[in-house]
Amino acid sequence: MGKDVRLLFDPFGIRIHGRGGQGVVTAAELLSVAAFLEGLHAQAFPSFGSERMGAPVVAFCRISTRTIRTREPISAPDALIIQDVTLIHQLDVFSGVNPFGYVLINTSRTFDELGLGEFIERFDRTHVLTVPATEIALEHLGRPVANAVLLAGFAAMSNAVSLGSVSEAIKRRFSGITADKNVAAAESAFNFVMKELEGSRSLSGVYHEGAKDSSDA
Amino acid sequence: MTFQPIKFYQTGSFVVGNRLLGENLRTVQSDIARSDSLTLGHRACQGCGEALGARYALDAAMRATGNKILATNATGCLEVFTTPYPETSWQIPWLHSVFGNTAAVATGMAAALRVKGREDIRVVAQAGDGGTEDIGFGCLSGMFERNDDVLFICYDNQAYMNTGVQRSGATPPAVRTATTEAVGSHPGNVFGQGKNLPQIAMAHEIPYVATATVAELHDLEAKVEKAMSMRGARYLHILVPCPLGWGSDPSATIKIARLAKETGLFPVFEAESGEVTGVSKIRHRLPVESYLSEQRRYAHLFKPVENREVLDRIQAMADRNVRRFGLLEEEVANNTPREQ
C-alpha cells in the first residue's frame, strides 16, 4: 500500500450509480485496478442487468487489506459515487450508506439546490462533496464522460487510493490521447476536490456551497 | 479391327453404356480401381437409391481428391444401414454425430484441417432430405452462409424413410406417407407446402449448387468432380428413389429416377454463386403419369378412379419447372404431348 493511502474502512465498500453508457462498470473496474496498484486487494463487479443505454446501472468495488471472498452485493456502502445526479430522486441511491462514509455527486449544483442539504448534515463535512465532473470532462476530453474524473475526486476525498494509481489505472485501460486526456481531467478533479476540502475544513461546522463557484478547476 | 460409329442410346434408355466409351470417358463406378468408399455388405433395402447415390458420389469425390476425403453423416437410413453393430461398410474416415448437426460437424472438420494445414483433405457431409431440409436446416444454412469448405450432399428420397416413411419438407404434394395418409377428401400430402432446397442454397450465393439423380451416373460424377475442384460451401442434391417408401419395384429405381427428370418433376441443373449455369435438358418429354403410376405412394391418384384434378396440378408443377429452368430444347418442346 502506498504510504499516503489509508483505508478508513476495511473492507471498504464503494457503490457507484449512473446510467448505461456512462462508464459506471468501467469506473468500478478502474477503482479496483487503482487499489490493486496500491498493493491492496480489490473486487469490482456490476449489478448485472440487461445492457441498455440510459438505464440505471450500479457497480460495486470492494477494497481491503485482506483477501476478499464474499460475493454479495454491497448493500451498506462506505462510499457512494453518483455519476448521474438525475438518479437521486428516482432511486433510493442512498440506501444503506454508512453514516461515517463518503458521498460524492457529479453535479455543478450544491447539495441545497439538489434538496439534499438536510440529508448530508448527518455526514462529516469532509466526506460529502459535489464535483462538476461532467464539466471537467467536457473541458479536458470534449465528451461528458465523468467516470474517471470522479474516481480522482474520490481518491482525493478518501485517500483509499492515490491519484497516481488512478492515473495508472486509466493508462492501463485506455491508450494514447484518450488516456492522456483522462489523466489530465483526473488531475484537475483531484485538485478541485483538495481545494474544496481545504475550504470545508476552514469553514468548520459551516456547510459549504463551494462547488458551484469553483468550477475554474 | 475396323471401327464403326457408335450409336448412343441404342437401348432406348438414353443411357450411355460404359462399354461403348473410351477408357478415359468411363464412369468412376466402372473402374475396377474405384475406392469402394461404401463397400458391399451393407444393410440397405434392395434397389436403394441412397446406397447407389452415396457410393457414386463418394467414389467420385475420392477420385477427384486423390483419396483424401473425410465424410460425416446425419442420422438416417444411410447411417443405419452402413454401420450395423459390429460392422461398418465405410472404407473412408467417417463420423456420425446426430441427426440435425451434420453441416456444423463438417464445419468443425474443415476448420481442424485448415488449422493443421491439411487443406488437401476435403470434407463431405451427407444427409437425407429430413436431415438436410428440416432438422438440419439451421446448421446447413450457417455452413452455407460462412462459406465453409464443405461439400454437402442431400440424398433426397422425399420422406423420413428410416423411421417408417413420414412426411418431410421435401415430400411432394399428393404423396402418401405414414403421416399424410391417402384418406379423406384430399388424400396424401397437401399442395402448397414444402421447400426447394437447391434454390434456397442458391440464395446463399455459395460457389456451387447442383441437382442430380442416380439415373445419370456420368452427370452425377461430373458434378461431384466439379464440386471438388472448387473451395467453399457446395451443395449437391441427389434424387434417390426409395422402393420401400415410394412403393416401387426395386429393379425400377434407375428408371423412376430418370422419369422424375424426363417428366420435369425433378429439374436437373447446376448453379454457381446463385446463378443457374447449366440445365440437363429433357430428352424425351413424358407426362407425369408415366412417373407417378410406377409408385404406390401415388396409387390413390389412379384407383379406384383417376383423380384428374390432382394429376393436372402435378402436371402443372412439371410444366412450371420446364418453364422456369428451360428444360426443353426448343424443337423438342414442340413435340411434347402437353405443350401443344
Partner: protein
Amino acid sequence: MLEQIEGSRAVAKAVALCRPEVVCAYPISPQTHIVEALGVLVKTGELSPCEFINVESEFAAMSVAIGASATGGRAYTATASQGLLFMIEAIYNAAGLGLPIVMTLANRAIGAPINIWNDHSDAMAVRDSGWIQLFAETNQDAVDLHIQAFRLAEEISMPVMVCMDGFILTHAVEEVDTPSQGQVDAFLPKFVPRQVLDVDDPVSIGAMVGPEAFSEVRYLAHAKQLQAKEKIPGISREFELIFGHPAGGLVNGYRLENADTVVVAMGSLLGTIKDAVDDLAEEGKKVGVLGITTFRPFPLEEVYAYLSEARRVVTIEKAFAVGMGGILATDVATSLNRVRIDQYSVIAGLGGRAITKASVRSLLEDAIDDRLEPLTFLDLDHELVEREITRMRESKRSGPTAENLIRDAQLKKFSRTQRDG
C-alpha cells in the same frame, strides 16, 4: 503474472495459453466476454493457429467442436443456460463419442421465467451426460481449472465442462495470477487424439450400437469418469508444482478439523459461506466448509471421508430437482448412507438472488440449534407464494404466474410506500 482482471478475460487468456485450434462462438449472456476476448486474440494472431468460428446456434457450436475434435483439433467453446439446453443433444453426443472438448459454462438460470442471472440449474441439467464437471470458486480457480480441464479431457478422452458463476465470476474484476505460456506448455502436452478421422487409417466414429454392446459402451463412459476421479488429484498436484499454487482436486476443505457442522457447496458461493463461518468461529462455533470442485465424477469416498465425523451437514446449492429437492444434497446423502448424520438441504441464490453473509449465518445458527427444516429455500418470500397459491385455488384462469408475482410485488411495494410516506 498477478493482475487485476475481469474473470472472463482471465479465462480467455488461460484458454488461449492452452492453444485451442478451433474455438466456436455463439453469444449468450453471461458467456460473451470470454469468446469475444478469444476472438480478439485470434484476430491479432496472438492465438495462432486457431480457427475462430461464429456459428448460428449453440447446437452448431458444440457440433463444430465435435467435428473439429474428431479431426484431431483441440476444440473449445463456451455457453450458458438456454444455450446449454439448446446444445444438449450434441452435449450427450460429445460425451458418448468420447471427444475431449473443453467448454466453459457461465452458470445461469434456466427459464421460464426467462432470467439472465446466476444459478446452477444449467449445469445440473447435464450432470448425467458423461461430461466431467468442475466448479470454480474464484476467478483464479476458473483460470486454473481450464488449464487442468484440457489436460484431463485429453488424458481420458472425455469432454470437460468448467462451471463458473455467471456475472458473479465472469464479470467480476479481481486479482488473478495468470500463468505464462511456458508453464502451460510444460503442463499440457500436445494433443494426441485417442481416435481421429485420418485418410491414412480410416475409422468409422459414431457407428450404431445395438443391445448387444450398448451397456458395455455406457459402462465404459462410467469407467472413464472413475478413471478421471483417480487422475484429478494427481493432475492437481502436478499443477501446483508447475504453477506454484494449489488448484483443482476433487474437494476442498476449510476449517474442517473438529467441525461438528459442515457446510457443503459449490462455486463462488463458497466465499460468502467462508466469511460467515469465520464469524461463527469467533463465537466458538465449530463449523467447517467442504467445497466440491469436481461434481462429476462425484467424489463419493472423499465426501464421506471429510463428513463422516460431523454431527450435521448443511448442503447449500443453487439449483434443485423440482418435486424432489436438493441435487447436490442427494449426492452428499449417497456418500453418507453408511452413517447417521443430520442432513439439511438448502436451496439458495436462484436466478441471481443475492446470498448474503447474514442469511447464511442465520441459516447456520438455525442448523446448529437443530431448528432447520430438512429442505429450506433461503430467503423465500412465503407470503408472495401463498397469495399466488390462493389465486390459483380461487380461479381456474388465474393467469401467468410470473406476471402475477410481478404485479403482486409491485402492489405490495406501492402500498408500503403509501403507508410509510
